[in-house]
């Protein structure tokens, strides 16, 4: 496990070409793409970038978990005093969507899906499965486990655009709900200072939410950077100390 081999398998494109940007920075979807095939990784990365996404492409389920900070093996090693510096760069931007191949050596896309959905911190992240095999049983199993969608390979631009569209919509709705709540809190505070009676919940003009999800879960899925991270793993703590 060479130290200098650390980032060879992963590339984060944090900058989108100037004229690709049609949305503001806060609305760009950050996708974690997982595929063991080099050819497919290159194609999916390009498909996502051309759809105005930030992309981090990794070559295995294990690397994906490491990036998310979910890899138990590494957490175990770090609590045993293993050098964390090697791993701290691997955790990066907040992930808005995971798109993964199904058939991979080691950990399959299905197993990755399960691990993500089992995690309290990351289960809200939509996971899309890609597979060259159009097997109903496989598709059903993935959807039952909580996959957002299932794409049959080879992946086309229309597939990616469709997925990014509804991910962006969900994120925006999450932000709207968050913004609306903040507004209500702000309005309430002002009213209290002015000595008015309690404000009944006046719905903000921009909100047209039709979902019935609980407030706490939608806060978690919103992109607001100020929301406190519920992830308090040893890796996160170690990351902060090593950057001093």
């Amino acid at each position: 496990m060479a130290r200098n081999g650390g980032v060879a398998w992963m590339r984060t494109t944090e900058k989108i070409d100037g004229y690709d940007l049609s949305t503001s920075d806060t609305e760009e979807v950050h996708v974690l793409a997982v595929d063991d095939s080099l050819v497919d990784r290159k194609v999916i990365e390009r498909l996502l970038r051309i759809s105005s996404c930030k992309v981090t492409a990794v070559d295995s389920g294990r690397r994906a978990l490491q990036y998310l900070g979910l890899d138990e093996e590494i957490q175990k090693k770090e609590t045993n005093g293993f050098d964390p510096f090697f791993y701290c760069d691997f955790q990066g931007l907040k992930v808005d969507l995971i798109i993964t191949d199904y058939c991979m050596p080691g950990m399959t896309g299905y197993e990755l899906l399960k691990k993500v959905k089992e995690s309290s911190a990351f289960r809200e992240i939509p996971v899309v499965i890609m597979s060259s095999e159009n097997v109903i049983a496989r598709i059903d199993r993935c959807l039952e486990e909580g996959a957002e969608d299932f794409i049959v390979k080879p992946v086309k631009l229309s597939d990616v655009k469709r997925i990014i569209d509804y991910t962006t919509t969900e994120l925006r709705e999450g932000e709207l709900r968050e913004g609306a709540r903040a507004k209500r809190r702000g309005i309430n505070k002002r009213k209290q200072r002015e000595g008015d009676d309690d404000l009944s919940s006046s719905p903000p003009s921009t909100l047209s939410s039709s979902t019935s999800s609980s407030p706490s879960s939608s806060i978690q899925s919103a992109t607001a950077p100020s929301s406190p991270s519920t992830l308090d793993s040893p890796t996160r703590r170690l990351k902060m100390t090593s950057s001093e």
Binding site: D17, S37, L38, V39, D40, K153, V155, K156, L157
Partner: protein
């Protein structure tokens, strides 16, 4: 040769590759992903494919040469090759891989060996086709022209 003639040659040549089944619609998807910010995208992906396929074919030759053939391993390699050929639109390679997997399923060594030859042949053929394609594109670029895009529905 005039620029217009080279451009026409490229269009005709590309169309023939579709007609003869060397390429399918996925190749057009790849072309859509190429633009001024990524002018060599197709070339890069296709090159990656041939690097990848060469490694896989070598593995297959070795695997089929073993006293106890590991069909699972062979199937895994062919599955990979099928996947990447499908991703670049190399239809005949993909189809040859499908046939290869069928022989793996029934553990027929002779069938597998024949299929291996076929897959190798298809890779070789489509590689030559791509080389001609890229050469025509380069000639067009060198003459200051732009590469014409192929529309579906011919």
């Amino acid at each position: 040769m005039e620029l217009v003639q080279i451009q026409r040659s490229l269009v005709d040549y590309t169309k023939s590759l579709f007609m003869e089944g060397f390429l399918d619609a996925q190749f057009l998807q790849l072309q859509q992903l190429q633009d001024d910010s990524n002018p060599d995208f197709v070339f890069e992906v296709v090159s990656l494919f041939f690097e990848d396929s060469e490694k896989l074919l070598n593995e297959l030759i070795i695997a089929l040469d073993q006293p106890n053939v590991d069909f699972k391993k062979i199937d895994s390699h062919v599955h990979q090759l099928k996947g990447s050929s499908s991703s670049i639109g190399a239809q005949r390679v993909k189809n040859a891989c499908i046939a290869f997997r069928n022989y793996c399923d029934v553990q027929n060594i002779e069938g597998c060996l024949t299929c291996l030859q076929q897959v190798k042949q298809e890779c070789y053929l489509v590689k030559n086709k791509f080389e001609t394609l890229f050469r025509l594109e380069q000639q067009i670029m060198a003459s200051g022209g732009s590469v014409p895009t192929i529309e579906l529905g011919f």
